[in-house]
């Protein structure tokens, strides 16, 4: 099956803990993304990454960091979570040309207590 896979589906943690989310795509794409979808359903791009370049949204707090082992994997680490980090984190991938659509994973719902 070719798709974008994310683990875990849900994660509940306490303020100050470190969390990591995994994303894998089997579509042969060369570019991957992390988005944050907040309670108002706003979709905010956090990072985009291909095997050449990492682009960081300058509004993303430094406790967030992407980690990639190859072009099929892009993980997200949050060093010390805060309550405002509660959201759904969506991973997406695409081919790096302007008319290419993005394919989204099912998301990881993070709840910070």
């Amino acid at each position: 099956e070719t798709a974008v896979f994310q683990t875990p589906n849900y994660h509940v943690t306490q303020v100050g803990n470190e969390v990591s989310f995994n994303c894998k795509q089997t579509l042969g794409h060369d570019t991957m993304y992390w988005y944050k979808q907040d309670s108002k359903k706003l979709l905010k791009i956090m990072f985009s990454y291909n095997n050449k370049q990492l682009i960081v949204n300058e509004t993303v707090p430094r406790r967030f960091s992407p980690q990639s082992s190859d072009k099929a994997h892009l993980n997200l680490r949050i060093k010390s979570v805060e309550p405002e980090d509660s959201a759904v984190y969506l991973c997406a991938s695409r081919l790096q040309y302007n008319y290419a659509e993005q394919f989204f994973g099912p998301g990881t719902r993070l709840t910070v207590l």
Binding site: L43, S48, Y99, E101
Partner: protein, 109 residues
């Protein structure tokens, strides 16, 4: 800078009535516009896309026409169905990707 504007946060209408969700954009670069749909507890997925001025594109009963003169890419459907209830995002691709804030469409019986 580049941006996408969706003026309606929530659209509520009765089944069978026409749907129109607004999308305008701002860019100085190449124009590639997309509509994504996200049903409840699902991932966003592509509904339709266009880069050709004044050409209607259609998919699953929805259609949109890119009008570069007015920087618009409104999503339309002639008759809403209950299953159309979802969140709709308009997006612009150039070297970066810009999403609108989304429009929640609620279709009632």
């Amino acid at each position: 800078g580049d941006s996408v504007t969706q003026t309606e946060g929530l659209v509520t209408l009765t089944e069978g009535l026409p749907v129109m969700l607004n999308c305008t954009y701002q860019t100085a670069y190449s124009t590639f516009l997309f509509w994504y749909v996200q049903h409840l507890n699902e991932a966003p997925k592509l509904l339709l896309k266009s880069s050709t001025d004044n050409k209607r594109t259609e998919h699953q009963g929805f259609h949109a026409t890119l009008h570069k003169s007015s920087s618009s890419f409104h999503l339309q459907k002639s008759s809403a169905q209950l299953s159309d209830s979802a969140l709709y995002y308009c997006a612009l691709n150039n070297n970066r990707i810009f999403f609108g804030d989304g429009t929640q469409l609620v279709v009632k019986p």
